[in-house]
């Protein structure tokens, strides 16, 4: 088979489609993940992230296109794919009635390690994920972050070539989220190819080498975090003016200087997209100051996921799937 072309990529989707009851959940998705890199699928609920991971982990058969993982086609060689991957799904796949150590040993046995080897590996992983003290306790007593760390540890009982993490930090408190991020970063440093899905731009930004933005089953954008942010204008400066008069003058001044801005009359503020650099902000303030418009307060806002999506999906109308409304009707029927 002519896999040589794809060898640089450990994970590859080529115009993959998947329909559920007439609705295209994946509508011609292309994705490439280089060996040893971390890739993020970013998108809101319903974008098709989980479906993409399920196709790649052999849990769902694609309707069209091709999915190749570690050199094996997911449709024709599912067993070979399963031997190369680990999946940490959206819902923690841990047995709450067993202890953390028992969960790890069970997984080791299911990976066909000898009893002794499964036990030794369990202890190593408990240590690595800082769960040694909790290893003898039932998972039901674990915090969300601990259960999630165990969940990831379970994926590593036999180190996979590709690790799929479906929304690894959804529902975790900020501290647990940081712990999980640390674990993922460590894995990546160790050379495991990771594909993770997330709803959080910040998470993709922190962990991923490349980000694919998924929207309604299609790839809306793809690139490094820097490239994506550049496309949507980095950070927005919110300038708060002392009164309505100052606001009007500021808006007029910016317009006259061809600076795109959006005013928020109620908050007496004007929002200006910037690249987030100090120089850009200084220029902005200088421009206003030179004309006697003094800014009360200033805040820089990182783009939220909503803004990223709005910006990335504001494509020419022709690119929007025209069948969107009838599809929605079909779902509700």
């Amino acid at each position: 088979m002519a896999y040589t072309v794809f060898m640089a990529y450990t994970v590859e989707l080529q115009s993959v489609t998947k329909r559920f009851g007439g609705v295209a959940v994946l509508d011609g998705v292309d994705l490439r993940v280089e060996r040893g890199s971390v890739a993020a699928l970013l998108g809101p609920n319903g974008a098709g992230k989980t479906t993409a991971v399920k196709v790649l982990s052999t849990l769902l058969r694609p309707d069209g296109g091709r999915a190749v993982v570690a050199g094996h086609d997911v449709v024709s060689e599912p067993a070979a794919v399963r031997r190369s991957i680990s999946l940490t799904g959206q819902y923690a796949a841990v047995d709450e009635m067993l202890t953390g150590r028992e969960n790890l040993v069970l997984m080791g046995r299911l990976r066909h390690l000898t009893r002794a080897s499964a036990r030794a590996r369990a202890d190593e992983l408990l240590d690595r994920f800082e769960l040694t003290a909790a290893g003898g306790r039932r998972v039901a007593t674990y915090s969300g972050g601990m259960a999630r760390r165990l969940d990831i540890a379970l994926s590593l009982v036999v180190e996979p070539r590709v690790l799929f993490l479906d929304e690894p930090t959804t529902g975790l408190d900020p501290r647990s989220r940081r712990d999980v991020w640390g674990s993922i970063a460590e894995l990546a440093a160790g050379g495991v190819t990771v594909l993770l899905t997330t709803q959080y731009l910040e998470e993709a930004d922190r962990l991923a080498d490349r980000i694919t933005v998924l929207h309604c089953g299609r790839v809306a954008a793809e690139g490094t975090a820097e490239q994506l942010k550049a496309r949507i204008g980095g950070e927005t400066a919110h300038l708060v003016l002392p009164d309505a008069d100052a606001l009007a003058r500021a808006v007029a001044l910016l317009a006259a200087n061809a600076v795109s801005a959006r005013e928020d009359v109620e908050a007496l503020s004007v929002h200006v997209p910037t690249d987030g650099s100090a120089a850009a902000v200084r220029d902005l303030l200088d421009l206003l100051h030179a004309q006697g418009v003094e800014v009360d307060r200033l805040a820089l806002h990182r783009p939220t996921l909503d803004e990223v999506f709005l910006a990335l999906t504001e494509q020419p109308a022709a690119e929007q799937p025209p069948a969107e409304r009838p599809q929605t009707l079909e779902v509700t029927r």
């Binding site: 796949a93 841990v94 066909h112 190593e124 036999v158």
Partner: protein
């Protein structure tokens, strides 16, 4: 990292034994479920022997008449809870992970069913022990005991498999519990508590031909003596039938639910 050593035991055996071990651990730890599985039959036994028993004419001591039925209730009720655990695996991420492993899918179901049989052998033994304390005196020979345990294990596996199928059919663990009620109620309209000939005509037909009656009669014959030859083929056929149907339906539903 220590180099992981792969076992030389065939994969299927490792998978099944690992998942049976998991099922047994879960069983031992669901203390409340285990207590219910023992306490409920014991309470029914006490109620029937000391409250209703005096008014029921069966031709023998009522304790002697009712214990075989109680044994079957214990076996059936405990086995019927299998579906809840299966359902839990389907609705949590457990099944997705197991399915993404190079593991035989049905090993999960086998794990649940085998653990259920082991758990119910324990609870049924305890219920028999309680009935001995109350004065029940079985006359079974060693061979009778062996036949009894064999039949009960087959019956437990059958009900467990049916319950697993039901657990795969419904959407949540609470609904999966509904199967227990059917199983718990069925013995009342059988020869478990009263001879069917004392029932009204329209019930007699059902009572004589439903699975619990030949099963109760066979268990009764083996435990305290009596004709076994008449009821045993039907009892065996029902137990095997439950197992075959349960396994077949579970297999289909499991594949459909985890289908790709």
């Amino acid at each position: 990292m220590t180099a992981p050593e792969l076992t030389r035991t065939p994969g299927v055996i490792v998978d099944v034994s690992a998942l049976v071990g998991r099922g047994l651990r879960r069983s031992v730890r669901s203390v409340d479920a285990l207590i219910t599985a023992i306490l409920l039959p014991v309470l029914i036994l006490l109620a029937f022997v000391y409250v209703f028993g005096g008014a029921i004419e069966t031709g023998t001591r009522y304790l002697t008449y009712v214990v075989p039925g109680i044994v079957l209730i214990c076996a059936a009720f405990g086995s019927a809870s299998t579906g809840a655990g299966v359902n839990q695996d389907m609705t949590t991420g457990m099944i997705a992970r197991l399915r993404s492993l190079p593991v035989l899918g049905s090993a999960v179901l086998i794990g649940h069913i085998v653990a259920s049989v082991a758990r119910n052998l324990l609870s049924t033994t305890i219920v028999v022990a309680v009935s001995l304390l109350l004065g029940f005196r079985p006359t079974a020979s060693v061979l009778d005991w062996v036949a009894l345990v064999g039949l009960l294990m087959l019956f437990m596996a059958g009900i467990s498999a049916l319950s697993a199928a039901f657990g795969l059919l419904v959407t949540n663990a609470e609904a999966a519990g509904a199967f227990s009620f059917v199983v718990l109620f069925l013995p009342y309209v059988s020869s478990a508590f009263v001879p069917p000939e004392t029932m009204p005509d329209f019930l007699q037909g059902f009572a004589r031909n439903q699975p619990m009656t030949p099963l109760v009669e066979t268990v009764r014959g083996l435990l305290v003596g009596g004709p076994v030859a008449e009821s045993a083929p039907a009892a065996l056929a029902w137990a095997v039938g439950f197992l075959v149907v349960g396994v077949a339906v579970s297999g289909v539903l499991f594949r459909r639910r985890t289908g790709r």
